[in-house]
Symmetry: D2
Subunit: 260 residues, 4 copies
């Protein structure tokens, strides 16, 4: 069996769990949870996390080493394209020319729902400036296609609102996005527990990005282990090809015999 890897921006990964670094008690807990998760791609909110901006504070990169992990700077906290682009450029500087970024432009502080018009503008500008853009988006199939066409390296639709833990509220939209996608589709935001992550993978997504589900569990390290297994489980179930759903075992055709 050839290993089941996936590619982002020309680099191959085995772990399909992408993980955030916010909301932990301290950098030590961040490190322990991320190590347990098996993640290879770790996302960092440039505007909130010290990765060298302040030489007098603890530096996340001393706990999560760029030698071991692909650091994925993100624009959390940005509400306009201008801010997001500026933040990506700052990240590129801090990380010595690193050009893989996760773009998010949010609509308001209450819901943290993406601001799609600004996200489209920022994505276009960043791609044109040479960035490899992974883009956080709502679950709009038309927008997903646009991001792909403009050259984003991954499209990351929400399952539900950031920090809500409500899971994938509209799997139908994710399926429609997947039907046409030629770049990796990664569910980003909303996953609350292991079965949510497994479901995302069973739909056929290439990966899942999460933060609160691990950081806000009572035991983040154990939840990181749960998520690692859930994502592998969901991926394998997708590859294995699930049994058909039937109204009952003796039904001759799937869900046959029922009127609705």
């Amino acid at each position: 069996m050839t290993p089941d890897t996936f590619e982002i921006a020309g680099r191959s990964y085995q772990s399909r769990l992408l993980i955030g670094t916010g909301k932990y008690k301290d950098f030590e807990e961040t490190r322990a949870a991320i190590e347990m998760s098996g993640a290879e791609i770790v996302t960092v909110a440039i505007r909130r996390t010290n990765i060298g901006q302040d030489a007098n504070e603890p530096n996340l990169l001393d706990f999560i080493s760029p030698d071991k992990y692909t650091i994925l700077p993100n624009t959390a906290g940005c509400y306009t394209a201008v801010d997001a682009v500026r933040t990506c450029k700052l990240a590129r500087e801090l990380l010595d020319g690193h050009d893989l970024v996760k773009l998010e432009v949010l609509g308001d502080q209450k819901t943290l729902y993406p601001e799609m018009r600004e996200t489209l503008l920022a994505a276009e500008e960043l791609v044109n400036d040479g960035f490899k853009v992974m883009v956080y988006t709502n679950d709009d199939p038309i927008a997903a296609k646009k991001f792909e066409e403009m050259g984003c390296v991954a499209v990351m639709p929400l399952g539900s609102l950031i920090g809500s833990g409500l899971g994938i509220l509209n799997p139908h939209n994710i399926r429609i996005i997947l039907e046409e996608a030629k770049v990796p589709i990664i569910v980003d935001a909303g996953v609350g527990t292991a079965s949510d992550a497994a479901l995302a993978m069973e739909l056929g997504c290439e990966g899942v990005l999460m933060n609160s589900a691990v950081a806000h569990a009572k035991n983040p390290v154990l939840m990181a282990s749960a998520m690692k297994k859930a994502i592998e489980a969901g991926r394998e179930a997708f590859l294995a090809g699930r049994m058909e759903k039937k109204a009952y075992a003796s039904a001759s055709s799937p869900l046959g015999g029922l009127s609705r």
Copy 2:
């Protein structure tokens, strides 16, 4: 960390995935899938599977060794208490006094829904006759309590109909059963894919029994691996304590701010 085991009839197990032996292409595929699943308890339909009744046919126990697995004879295909009790006695004979059984008494061939009155009668008689009874049941919390009180060693409510793959259609009933249970609750029937199994464990069940979900996957061995991981993931997520669900991240209380 002490290992997270559970007990049935005084014996301790690490794997919380119980697995059936029916519906595979041949005994070799059965063996490969079960080995991959990591299951320690393997259930066998006494009326359908040769475990020595016919000396001229292949014997399942040559593929699934009782030295390695706990063999759990079941009464699949029985529609009355009388038949089910007789089948358990036959199993005890064939297996040299082995008294752990999975009781199922079905209501009809179309739905394979349990016949509860006959199941209650059979369970009582088997317990009185010294059997250790794991009992397949609908998701009735009152019946679950009765089975526990009469001395069954595990109560096994359905998620949905046998062979349907529809998942856990009424998690609410499973939760209510779990609230009061003092014996292991194991979801039996209905699981279709990995996220279904993870969900059962997240509810707090002690284990999941499945057959079709693995045997009827396009790739049964890979699905067995998926299920192993899904059950571990769901169990760890349960133990880790999931984050609270919120309408949105900035809501001060769980699901606050929404009218319904």
Copy 3:
């Protein structure tokens, strides 16, 4: 168009909303809500409601006249077959030989889930004693068939627990009950709002019985009106034959083109 009526125990009804009389502020509110609901069958908990047992207290029948409504005595508060049968006999006496009853035998005070073994016993005894039995049951298709075969005049599966307002948690079981039923199937318990009631009718049920959903609404009389319309809406939608579900409008077959 011939009027769309249904029959219970040989009598024809136009309203498919059956309604309870408990939990209102006072008999006046009970009367107003029931009048608004358009219900023709009104159920009364014989052990809790004064319909003449106590000559010094207000009598419900002075507000809900047996001349106008079919009074349906029920056995709410009974936890054994013996109690339920005794209560039905008391009702028959109080109501001058009236033999239509709603049987419910509950399993415990916490969940109010039906005690199925006792319900089966009581139903049999009541039918043999000449009662016309409408029977409250869990959503077990095998038990539903048994009640029909023993001569019950209607089978009344729960949508969810009495007083929960959680709606129909397992429509799949209701569908399976409906597939084989030859007597009216009436959802009893669990309906919380108008769409729940409409859904029950869309599944093909003959009617819905409710109490808390109306009595515990902030405005019971307005909710009674809502429920009347919802049940008519659901019934008409069932008769009209809904459009097929599709993944998208251009899909050539229902839900075609999607992988899961």
Copy 4:
């Protein structure tokens, strides 16, 4: 009780069911279904329906009179802002200066999902040109707010894809839109049967627009009646204030006592 009306563009309506005119067998069936629905606002696809463009063909307005109904021209079939704006101007001409329009700009022919960037552009241009714009949109709360702020007179989020009949796939987003809305929110697209329509109203929407659910029912006229009642039912249930959901009746607080 004052009548429960709602306002669009300064005019008051009693019926909260808005209805389309496409997909019927003929104009006679269109007329019969719409009359039965009680709708006061009737939407017409200007690019597909003859309302006078072709003097030699039957004219819809001879069946659905502008004297009786508010005619709502829509831009179905438009895939760019330019096309949509042009279509609205054509409608205004054909209808003698009528300036109420329903804007829809679609992303592709396969899914009929809205093209949000073009929709935003068109809405802005139309508002500036004096149109009263009711705008079809995805269920994006940020976009909904934008449409309101630019002066649209109603925001019309989808329940699910046009012509799918899948109902409201993400009620959570509709709730979030409703929390902040100051203009009428009307679910447009996706409703498949009566309970879907009731649910939209229970969420607090001001109305529902539908077409296929009626036109593609086996009996469109009867389904129109069902929908009329369902929408009234859902509205009244919303106003009446539904009972709280509880895990069981004896729970002291809503959904108390359950672990998840």
